[in-house]
């Protein structure tokens, strides 16, 4: 009837089988979603500033020994609370240690804490999130309730509790921060997996006869990576802040390790006498966290297809 006519019409006109008006030249290159995201990101000026800040601190951390003339624990008691000068670029602290040197070495500590804590939280959080989201039922119940319990405590309080049990040290602080961040990644991944599980292309993968492992690794995981990356970048900042907080409370890095939070705590008594002793570590923490947040926001906009137009 109607369709028959249409079919005949189409055959008469001898239309090519490729429909619509999509560009169809052989030269068109394949645009992967990742490359597209990178393109978006490059246009975002704030994200580029974030990248610049982080790159700066990474370089400072790597090349710290090259441009510092002191060691981070070298005390010149005669120069206690020395104001910024040619000799001490950012001044000296209450034990006469060069603040510039300590900030540079402190960048190593902070970036390492951020990296390892976030990696740990990401790996274990994602694993648990996938288990909970994909298999559902009692597995989901169990894992989600544990996450709920962990999220019920303020994260810094939980971290303090963990460090209190394990004893104060940088490693334990790092561990505590990782643990505290697990439910954040876990819930994110879980919700992503649950919404992906209902997608037709996942059903299609099962219809092809794929095993659960393959469905998870090749279909669910690659589609969850974008939000995980965004969260990881944002968590990097939080983790550094939490490490600084633990350091401030004396539960993180132990002296003489140059840790920004601990440097703040040590200088707090001298805020009126020598404000530069607080300014440098405070600003460093702020800048690093700001840098990671700018990157994170930029990534979110670049990788979220809904933001595109």
């Amino acid at each position: 009837m109607k369709l028959e006519e249409k079919k005949n019409q189409l055959q008469e006109q001898n239309l090519p089988p490729n429909d619509d008006n999509v560009m169809d030249e052989e030269e068109t290159e394949a645009v992967s979603p990742w490359r597209d995201g990178w393109k978006q990101l490059r246009k975002n000026r704030l994200a580029i500033i974030g990248f610049a800040i982080i790159l700066f601190f990474i370089l400072v951390a790597i090349f710290a020994p090259l441009f510092t003339s002191y060691s981070y624990d070298q005390q010149n008691l005669a120069d206690r609370l020395h104001p910024p000068s040619e000799e001490y670029l950012l001044g000296a602290d209450h034990l006469g240690r060069d603040i510039f040197t300590r900030i540079a070495y402190g960048a190593r500590v902070s970036l390492q804490v951020g990296f390892f804590a976030v990696t740990g939280a990401l790996v274990f959080g994602s694993l648990l999130g996938i288990l909970a989201g994909y298999f559902g039922r009692w597995i989901d119940m169990l894992i989600s309730r544990i996450f709920d319990i962990m999220l019920a405590f303020p994260s810094i309080l939980l971290a303090i509790a963990i460090v209190a049990i394990l004893g104060p040290s940088l490693e334990n602080a790092l561990l505590a921060i990782a643990v505290v961040n697990i439910p954040i990644f876990g819930r994110l991944v879980r919700s992503r997996v649950i919404s992906l599980r209902e997608e037709e292309f996942i059903m299609a993968a099962k219809a092809q006869g794929m095993k659960s492992g393959r469905v998870i690794l090749h279909h669910i995981l690659p589609n969850s990576v974008a939000p995980i990356i965004v969260q990881a970048t944002l968590s990097f900042g939080t983790a550094i802040l939490e490490a600084a907080a633990l350091g401030f409370l004396g539960l993180g890095a132990q002296p003489p390790t140059p840790e920004w939070g601990q440097m703040l705590a040590d200088s707090r008594e001298f805020i009126q006498l020598a404000p530069w002793t607080l300014l440098a570590p405070g600003l460093s923490i702020m800048l690093v966290v700001l840098g990671f947040n700018l990157i994170g926001d930029g990534l979110r906009d670049a990788l979220d297809p809904r933001m595109k137009n």
């Binding site: 249409k6 490729n18 619509d20 394949a30 992967s32 006869g209 690659p222 589609n223």
Partner: protein, 325 residues
């Protein structure tokens, strides 16, 4: 008559409704309620019905993409609902599906190459060069080009994406393909192209289709036999000629009278049904259609009519005809 390729007996899928803190079962939606039919090798069986009548659930239950509640699905004389997981996975190379939404059914992070070659890999084609060749071959079979293999789904139009979906379904030379509204999401001009392609492929590869759709003219165009579903039940099943010329069930009559006529001068009697489709959570007793049926009798409220043949190859579930037997 040869033996059917697929036999569905008393297929049921009830979705539980859970509520409250402990997720107690407080009811169920009878999405598919006792559906039986068989499909011969090489034929196209159309299934039509309104949205929510259980067409898609039927299709997905046959493939166990949705685990059916009860019933029997025999594929080449094996009840596949009893197969263990591993066996079922192997069998999937013979039973494929084409999905409704070509935008949702392709993984956005995979290239066309990967999308089409994955089923090959899963079913044992380990040689990547062989796979590559097969992908190119398949792309050409469905009217695309070999160089499309390196692109991503978002670089294609709806019709092209559906072709990719078809190529994926064809990858392992299946015997049966369930087409779950494969053209509903496409423009009308593209619909015709895809339908023609599917017909060509059927002849070329000796395929059998179960073609699910809500568009009566599409089903009429492509099917050999047509089944009509209403509220999770099959109400009529016969050859397409008989169904479109001599519909028996009052619901089928109403449905067909709603097909628009291109000629405005032709006066057509339209059967307007009263009310809405009842809630499948609480379907009417007896015949599910009795609440809206213009010819309802007392018996319709009490006894569910059997799905029985009234003529050769013409099954109807209606008391109007059961009496005459």
């Amino acid at each position: 008559m040869s033996t059917p390729l697929l036999e569905v007996n008393g297929l049921k899928k009830y979705f539980p409704i859970r509520s409250g803190v402990f997720g107690r079962k407080t009811g169920e939606v009878k999405a598919v309620d006792d559906v039986s039919f068989s499909v011969m090798p090489g034929e196209i069986l159309g299934i039509v019905g309104e949205s929510g009548c259980g067409k898609s659930t039927t299709g997905k239950s046959i493939l166990r993409l949705i685990e059916p509640t009860d019933g029997e699905v025999k594929f080449e004389d094996r009840n596949i609902l009893e197969l263990p997981k591993g066996e079922m996975r192997k069998l999937r190379r013979d039973m494929q599906i084409i999905f409704q939404d070509p935008y949702a059914s392709l993984n956005p992070r995979h290239t066309v190459e990967k999308i089409i070659s994955e089923p090959l890999l899963v079913h044992g084609m380990k040689n990547s060069k062989e796979r590559k060749e097969r992908v190119r071959e398949l792309l050409e079979v469905v009217g695309l080009n070999g160089y499309h293999a390196t692109r991503y789904p978002h670089q294609f139009s709806g019709g092209q994406r559906q072709r990719i979906g078809i190529a994926r379904a064809l990858a392992n030379n299946p015997k049966l393909i369930i087409c779950d509204e494969p053209v509903s999401a496409l423009d009308v001009s593209v619909q015709a192209q895809i339908l023609n392609l599917m017909e060509e492929l059927r002849e070329q590869f000796h395929l059998t289709y179960i073609f699910i759709a809500h568009d009566l003219s599409v089903v009429k165009h492509i099917s050999d036999r047509v089944g009509v579903m209403y509220l999770g039940r099959m109400v009529e099943l016969t050859t397409k000629e008989k169904l479109y010329e001599d519909p028996k069930h009052p619901y089928t009559k109403a449905l067909l009278s709603a097909v628009p006529e291109p000629d405005p001068d032709i006066k057509k009697e339209r059967i307007i049904l009263k009310g809405d489709v009842p809630n499948p959570q609480n379907p009417p007793t007896g015949c599910a259609f009795h609440t809206r049926c213009p010819l309802a009798m007392d018996i319709c409220k009490e006894i569910r009519p059997e799905f029985a043949p009234v003529e050769d190859h013409h099954f109807v579930a209606c008391h109007l005809y059961n009496d005459k037997q």
